[in-house]
Symmetry: C3
Subunit: 204 residues, 3 copies
């Protein structure tokens, strides 16, 4: 038996690489928020990770242009790369706020939100590693959505407390934005999960 169309797993490899950057970046962010020192250097490191993920996204695009037969629809490969990249953009954006806004101490919920992003990133890593296992992918996406709900609840609770207790409006603005950027990263992970769902639905 000849395998006339050897399965090309180059895209899966790049997606695995991107998920790896996402895990690395979100772990660095969580650690930075828990041990709040050495900010400048760690945010610079986060920028480097984010940049490597950008380059991987670009490689997906270049490869799409060179590949005649793709493992799934071209536009979905494009959408998946973009959406994974978006998550890390918001992870970096959260880190960047720490230095740009000169935040003296992050709100208590911030490292917990980062920990949720780490868990979502690990689910995304599992999902992109087994794109052809429909049910496994859907189990990951259900968990990613559950984590997004959890993050949303934590963020809303902390924001309520901030509005009750913080009397400095400029400090309130900074804290509010940091929490919202972290929560948006979990939304973007959910968007990536939705792209994955779309892909497995099409393959069904």
């Amino acid at each position: 038996m000849f395998n006339l169309l050897p399965r090309d797993d180059a895209f899966e490899k790049i997606f695995a690489e991107m998920a790896g950057y996402l895990i690395e970046g979100s772990q660095l962010l969580e650690d930075t928020l828990r041990n709040y020192t050495d900010l400048e250097a760690r945010v610079r490191r986060l920028k480097e990770i984010e940049h490597k993920c950008d380059e991987a996204t670009h490689r997906v695009l270049v490869k799409l242009n060179q590949t005649f037969i793709t493992p799934f629809d071209r536009e979905d490969i494009h959408a998946l790369a973009s959406s994974l990249d978006d998550v890390l953009d918001y992870v970096y954006a959260a880190g960047e706020r720490l230095t740009t806004y000169n935040i003296d101490a992050p709100p208590p919920v911030a490292p917990d939100l980062a920990a949720i992003i780490v868990r979502q990133a690990k689910q995304l890593q599992s999902a992109v590693a087994r794109m052809n296992r429909h049910q496994d992918v859907l189990a990951c996406t259900v968990e990613i959505n559950r984590l997004e709900n959890e993050a949303d609840g934590l963020a809303r609770k902390q924001l309520g407390e901030l509005f009750r207790t913080e009397r400095d409006p400029i400090r309130l603005l900074k804290m509010k934005e940091l929490i919202e950027v972290l929560e948006t990263a979990t939304d973007k992970a959910e968007d990536a999960a939705n792209v994955l769902e779309t892909i497995v639905l099409k393959m069904a």
Copy 2:
């Protein structure tokens, strides 16, 4: 004559159910904003409606996995369910702000914005009930877009007034966010209308 492919209207039924939750939720929000009492209980009720809509979205997904021939493209069914769900997410988010931010009195425009969401929800209900009537769906989506413009105008006017008159920056922040969340719900209804347009364009 045999009907070899009996038309399966299970998806249309779930979309009708979702539009029903959207009408119920937005009417409850409007009523809460007009008769500003009993907040905790009514926001809890809104949460329940939002949760039922989440479950319906999930049922769409499960059914997609069990259905071989769908009335329109799988990814569009998915996108329509997600976008209807998004509208109610923002309706709930507006309600949630009332309690979390401990808003003493909503700005005058708030119930009027909620009333616009109710009208958009009714248009969405009409549209999903007659997906095979191209022109009817487009008439609904044109009206939904017009309502979004109207909401945008009302929101901008109220925000301008708030920035002119409100001297407490923290109260300003709360009011601004409430108005923006309400306006975003009308944007999400427009997104759902855009998905409906895409579907009827493909069927054309």
Copy 3:
């Protein structure tokens, strides 16, 4: 030789028209921000340009309904029209903030951000004029993404400075929103570029 399927360039013509409005609108915004006088009249003029672009978007939709064979996928034509329209919506939104929020002097970065939108608009104009030249379109979209990164860097720098120096929280809120709306316009141009990428990838 007969040309049985004469190539219909009506869509390309409307996209070119839309890109023209986008250039006109963003140039007017830049000029308004640099020579900060006569706001009411210029924002009114911006509204007119934005309205003409809305009408062009609507014409795309009507034409889609009357056309049997389209030069590329119906849903992509729809998405491209919507995303071009979105850019001008944010350009107008930035102008509108100037009058609604009664901004006395825009932050120094504002005209530079508008200038970046002008450059992105010119790239979008080039791209829609040569949709069948795969590599040319991709070169435009790469430049649009680079410009978005540049805008993001400028915006973050100015926001950091505002948080360090501006002591009036309500003025800070106004400046922050103006900068963010301008930056979002550059994001929307990137979204339009992503639609263009999707289209050329499908044609590949």
